[in-house]
Symmetry: C3
Subunit: 348 residues, 3 copies
């Protein structure tokens, strides 16, 4: 169950630069490629001739040419040509609203009439040269909501990421959760703690001392359908914490776009945006490698948790205070899905 009238991250621009990409998103098998003007396109991955996936073909002058018998598909899902054939009567295939923006290709799997490009999230860090971004993609066999839960309850860092970003104080500092319309914010502040290894590395790369206590913060922001942006950082203790001057702190935004592939699998686009040394590509690579290593520690837990939930389908999960972010996010999702079903029964 997914909200469908939403923009999901489907792929990165680089994934469709050289050849078509076949990827299932929200249960739909879709081929992504670039049309004649270089625009990103998303169509059903189905050749109307004999049903071969169009993603096995190639793009010639902006037309997607089927790799089986040469049918040429247009960006609107209508067949343009086929050797020796009149194609006017060929049944069209579904064309999905697509927007390329902020370094991602966004897909709208729902009603095209409702697809408003202005509704693509406004990612300030993606437009501002004072910021740099690096990230990656994982395919994980779990419900997308398990990953939202994961990111809205960072107490797991103490256990899953004990050697990098975890520290005992995360458990000890209570988090608070608030709901603001469709957004859910869970935040936690830890003052006068020692920076864990990942943040020591960040402090060093910022020429800040690592042997002094810091004030640390984590502000997790869920927004529909399944995005979680987390402001994280540390400041030298007593300098104002989150509000400390730029030369007293290291901060960044953990970026998480969680795109359902099916009910039990996701494409997880993760990354980090930072507003210091934005031109230092070596630092971008170093952070990405570190983050990739840390985030890969979540995979086994999520996959095995999903497996357990399927094995024991009837069992209740606890909803503790630390779970409030995920619980509230699920309520938002459920509300959006219910609203879609009222508007168009049978859609999902």
């Amino acid at each position: 169950m997914f909200a469908r009238n939403q923009w999901y991250v489907a792929c990165t621009p680089a994934e469709i630069d050289d050849k078509p990409l076949g990827r299932q998103v929200c249960g739909e098998r879709i081929v992504f490629y670039r049309g004649a003007e270089g625009q990103a396109v998303g169509l059903e991955d189905w050749c109307p001739h004999r049903g071969a996936p169009l993603s096995l073909g190639r793009v010639v002058e902006g037309r997607l040419v089927c790799g089986y018998h040469g049918l040429e598909m247009g960006c609107d899902g209508k067949t343009v040509a086929m050797p020796g054939q009149r194609v006017r009567g060929f049944a069209p295939i579904r064309s999905f609203p697509i927007v390329e923006r902020h370094g991602f290709v966004w897909l709208w799997p729902g009603d095209p009439a409702k697809a408003d490009p202005a509704a693509v999230p406004d990612l300030k860090w993606a437009q501002d040269p004072a910021w740099a971004y690096g990230g990656g993609l994982f395919h994980i066999a779990c419900d997308y909501r398990l990953m939202i839960d994961n990111l809205m309850d960072l107490t797991h860092e103490t256990y899953v990421h004990a050697t990098s970003i975890g520290q005992k104080e995360i458990d000890q500092a209570a988090s608070s959760t608030r709901v603001d319309g469709d957004q859910v914010v869970t935040e936690r502040f830890m003052n006068g703690v020692q920076a864990p290894p990942f943040w020591q590395m960040a402090l060093r790369s910022h020429q800040l001392p690592t042997d002094q206590p810091v004030d640390r913060w984590q502000i997790c922001r869920f927004s529909p359908p399944s995005h979680v942006m987390i402001e994280v950082g540390v400041a030298l203790a007593g300098q104002g914490g989150y509000h400390a001057g730029a030369d007293q702190k290291v901060s960044s935004i953990v970026v998480d776009f969680i795109t359902p592939e099916s009910d039990t699998s996701i494409w997880y686009f993760w990354g980090m945006a930072r507003n210091f040394r934005p031109d230092d590509k070596a630092l971008t690579a170093q952070i990405r490698d570190g983050q990739g290593k840390i985030f890969s520690e979540d995979l086994q837990v999520l996959v095995q948790q999903q497996r357990n939930l399927l094995q024991w389908p009837g069992r209740e999960l606890l909803k503790l205070n630390i779970d409030a972010g995920g619980v509230q996010a699920r309520k938002v999702i459920d509300r959006l899905i219910a609203a879609e079903q009222v508007a168009a029964p049978g859609l999902a």
Copy 2:
């Protein structure tokens, strides 16, 4: 759904020379081996004692000895002996009509009473020393009819086999299809074209020039249950094409026996028969390697097409003029299956 009262290629003779072969054909799990006179035998792959596959056993003096507890099975499916046991009352297992002919082992999965060895296809090239044959076997996860479609519409060569046998003129020359009883013939003639790489190789091996235009032909012949023989060749242009003298052309027969394993998988016996330099074993090997490489290019398309069809089970496929060969072949198959079901309801 397969026609059952038909001869299917089950294996090659070499596959059963040294030990029993367990293979599923038309949904039946069968053990193939050689009996006391060296004759090919096909039995249910089931030991009546405890259900172990007989194909794990060995052949001793023409008796198939179960590898678990030594039951000795006869070629008729009746237990011959078992250490310390009286076997007269043991339930027989099914013995399938088998014919070894033309370099293949043929299986009749249907009613044994109707199995006429004379109905095994008459392959002239297999009996004539002026011809040579080389081929191989692929296991492919697709409906056998998708492979028939593939072979009856060679416009796919332009796209799938662009670097070997494909050429734009295949698209441009219209094919014609005719039905003659249970046989379907689709043919295409391309005159005054340049020979594609595979045929240049063949011309060279025939001491014919490769820098001159050629007349090229493709004559696809479907016959039940799922055999497709394709006469292919090129002649120096203007010398009579298909009817040119033997010293002006290079031709061969592409041999395709498509044996269903299940509804969505096949054993694909492919090969090429040629009537030039039949004793040149190096040439046979060279052609087989080339053909194997070319035919392997079809695998991904067929497997992914099958996957798409299973994902979208209700969708119609187009039936264009280029698809006529496959469409007509399917009609023949459907008619044969329907006739079997009238004759023996519930058989398939």
Copy 3:
């Protein structure tokens, strides 16, 4: 279908010495670990917080700490603590009766009230320093009863283990089977035969001649739920056979604990106990390697037999005299399962 009010071997002590072990036994997903006193513990592998498998966590001072968010689980299945939480109301998880004895960890998957530690089998060889034991563990995709059949009918040795312990005389010497309460004994005596390779090795290691005929015996003892102990040995011919003096024979006990994982897969704990040269660790290793090699020969037969049985679910198997041990063992199992279902309908 398993008898549940029974002790099953779940793992070896070494498997839980260093970290928790997640293993499915009798359809239950269980985490095994050592509590504060070093005692073996078995709990449902489910964290009551968010359903992650507890086996991904670690043991701290005898508490099992969930690897996701740090919930601390007690040996009784009740949550002991969780950072920042009151845990009194947390739903308990199931704790299974466990006994560590005779070099194995025993699990009682049924009604805990009926779990009597005194009912764990009394393995004399495991307690007596005059005996040594070595063994291993296989995971096999077959019904546990197929393995019982296998071990209660050793005529398969002639075919499956032809090069090690098999010999033609096994087929020729009739076995006899008797039932004694819940125990089933099948025995076979072969007098004046040549020792097969495995036993020649054993004779040599015992400084006994290998060029003389021997009397050989096999006494298979099934006991519920799925244990098979086989007394095997050879004595120099005419010295009393099974009852020959210790310096005239080589004997041992083949130990088989067959623990269902699911209806079609098992954990197979195999080994050999011997009462000669018990301190010779090199000999223990040598025998274990040899036995492992021999027992691995059964794997393919059992897996393929299971596959055949699933393919042909309705087919009857023969119940010959050689099958009497397995047939009687199944009757005991069926009787125990039926009795449990009368006592607690719906349990299994």
